[in-house]
Symmetry: C4
Subunit: 255 residues, 4 copies
């Protein structure tokens, strides 16, 4: 496998969809929020992306079946008060290498531009490194009009303080270069656990901005599942690190 | 050398062969098991793979002859009770870079698909990090039917705990994307030495699954040889690390 | 985005322009000096470069607008006593990977060669690691005639001591291979803060060499702004490092 | 610059030349030996290689002139008792990345194969990590006949102990794949200084194998010069490391 491959499962016509990215990131805020939304609203998966830029591994699911690193595209038609169409990007992985990050973000935008996306939302967490009462939602955008919309929705504007690393940042930056309007919502989170509260906060703000209604009840359960998966995963991490170290030696020295 | 090169030594026709991967990995369980099986059953080498994704080095054999990093393909015809054909993948190296891992796994599958492989087995070790009585064999697969077959053979199903890194994982994942059925067998092993017991355990389980008979007597000797090679290698490792450090400086500063 | 893209904003004819590079580097001496000069003389931006070799991120400006990693080209026509044309290269980033450094430097030279550049200046800082009274200016060049010119201008010639890493070095080296004359000016600086004094020293030497006049009054203010931006940035750096670490785990283990 | 470029300075016809590689490596044994031989015998430079796989930097010579990272090809016609032709490969750098090492070694072999090379010698050091009386010369080869020749010349055969990393190993390995006979000579050296004694030992063994005469008198002087250059370089290394660290921060955070 030497190039990214996007496998279209269902041909679908969408009317100026809004594109929402929620790939794994800090506190899994975005991923948790949109995985829940997809579940809750029965969004339909219509494409799957595989790439040599993902980590060179597979996951194992609860039945012992292997699962490839992937990104998945879901759609919703005529959803919410405004009857808008949506494309959601979720998955279990981001590109590993800096160049891979650029290439993959470009390929993702090429794909969704084919559906005539009108706007892009990227979601993420903002690590505070310490416990927080209520997760505040911060935002940035590609133009000043969108900044105003964020302010009206009660989103705090983040300014002149560093940047956004990875897909949430690059998809927005490359969209700006293509003349696509976009914004990024970031929820405050301690950052060291799966944060259902932050995910709920971002979903509520998203509901307000998109004029949609989302039931956030089951978010806690989902967070619980994810926590369990992580704790299991961390046991394995030890093994893997061991394995990698060992392999490294092997690769260098075993005839 | 800027691309992977597969040199076919013997043209051979195989009937729906089973493809078994056993590249270097944790405890060398898979490599040890299949190197032994190839030896024991006089399997025939029919192709050799060289790649710029391997570590940039050569090995030195017992006669002072240099040996390239490589992967090798062996075949067996009408072997075992079921008179099945087999392709074995062994070698002294895996790709170094994440992208190299994907590209190489894809090229390997392209090659063996040309022989009409019906199924893929990947073999590995599962590091316990501590001494073990009897090496349990764990398994995962690409579909639920194969999981059932593993259960019937007394293989423990590994579930929802992390993943499989490297060729054993990627070859399985990419096979799944190509619609090829596959499984991975992992033997428990402390992980910090060449584990003949684990290799024997995996060979016995393999015999049961494939309905073949394999003599495991000489496994200990082979493990001994490998141990000697490693201890020698580790002396050299010191030199090499020294050399690399030194070179790094040289490369940066000597006119 | 899988290749470097240079977006030409204004078609301009230049007469044997002098090309001056001042990308981010030690103490920001070059960047600070030329950003100031561009501001002070109202140089015109005529092209913008984006590349997958830059860090995979965006910056956030004081209004909450995202800003892509970029390099920018400015020009000045008939400037200074000698009425020379100039091209200035500034930006917020250099290529991350060693190969990216070579590729990008080559693409930049291809672009400015199209404008018939006659000579290249690269600017940088020379870290002393300790406080200094007056920042001495050191220089190197692509040929001995230019070394003489530097000496006449009171520039100390740096000799047989290591090298120049990054764009300031590579643009000069690749220019030499293309038969373009060039030099590099390096200002002594402690290296651990934005050094307005060093930037002033390099501007004064530049004025002498180019026979131009530059007002260096506002340099301190600019240095102040930059310092503020950095301190803010460093708070964020903590978050980002946290985010990256977290993501790394996620990427490896979350299904 | 996105591909390796070999600039041929003089068209020359050579008769089955012997190709000798001596790029920078441990203790600079090979480089020191062949730089001296080239000087001593007035070998002629006929080609120069530049590559994006080298470190992204330039060196500064004693006159303040910048010097690109490069590899250089020299030739000698009808040299020694046997009146043989020779191609020598020297330079200031090796490829940085593993893939770069493979690609560059392949391109170098493509180039010298065009001159009909009959055999390849690679030279290196063998780090003992401690002072040594007399530097013993070890050897390895691509075939058993050559091992015999090495034994007759009193070269110790190195066996089953690890490998050879970098150009000295890869050029030999890729030559073997192309059916070109080759050997590697390694001189014992403490490894932490420029070792004139080891260089002399390797030159004497080389003289015996090639049936040539080389004056080794000036080797000490050359070693002295090189030592001076290194000590200077090491002062600069500190600055550069500082610069790189600083730049890394800048690249990430300065708008």
């Amino acid at each position: 496998m030497n190039k990214t491959d996007i496998n279209v499962i269902e041909e679908v016509n969408l009317n100026k969809p809004i594109f929402i990215e929620a790939l794994p990131g800090i506190g899994h805020v975005g991923k948790l929020a949109i995985d829940h939304l997809i579940d809750n609203l029965n969004a339909t998966k219509f494409a799957e992306l595989h790439s040599p830029y993902f980590p060179p591994q597979v996951f194992i699911d609860e039945n012992g079946l292997i699962e490839n690193m992937n990104n998945e595209f879901y759609y919703l038609k005529e959803f919410g008060e405004d009857k808008r169409d949506y494309i959601f990007l979720v998955g279990n992985s981001q590109a590993l290498s800096p160049e891979g990050q650029f290439i993959l973000s470009g390929e993702i935008l090429d794909f969704v531009e084919g559906y005539g996306i009108e706007m892009i939302y990227t979601l993420g967490g903002l690590a505070t490194g310490q416990p927080i009462e209520n997760s505040k939602i911060f935002g940035v955008a590609t133009n000043i009009e969108t900044i105003e919309i964020l302010k009206e929705a009660g989103v705090e504007i983040r300014s002149a303080d560093g940047g956004i690393v990875g897909a949430s940042g690059l998809l927005l930056g490359l969209s700006k270069l293509r003349g696509i309007t976009g914004l990024c919502l970031m929820a405050e989170t301690p950052g060291y656990f799966i944060d259902a509260e932050a995910a709920e906060a971002i979903l509520l703000k998203l509901s307000k901005l998109l004029n949609i209604t989302v039931d956030t009840e089951k978010l806690d359960e989902r967070a619980e599942e994810t926590k369990m998966m992580i704790s299991k995963a961390q046991q394995i991490e030890q093994e893997m690190l061991g394995k990698n170290k060992q392999s490294a030696d092997d690769l260098r020295y075993i005839g």
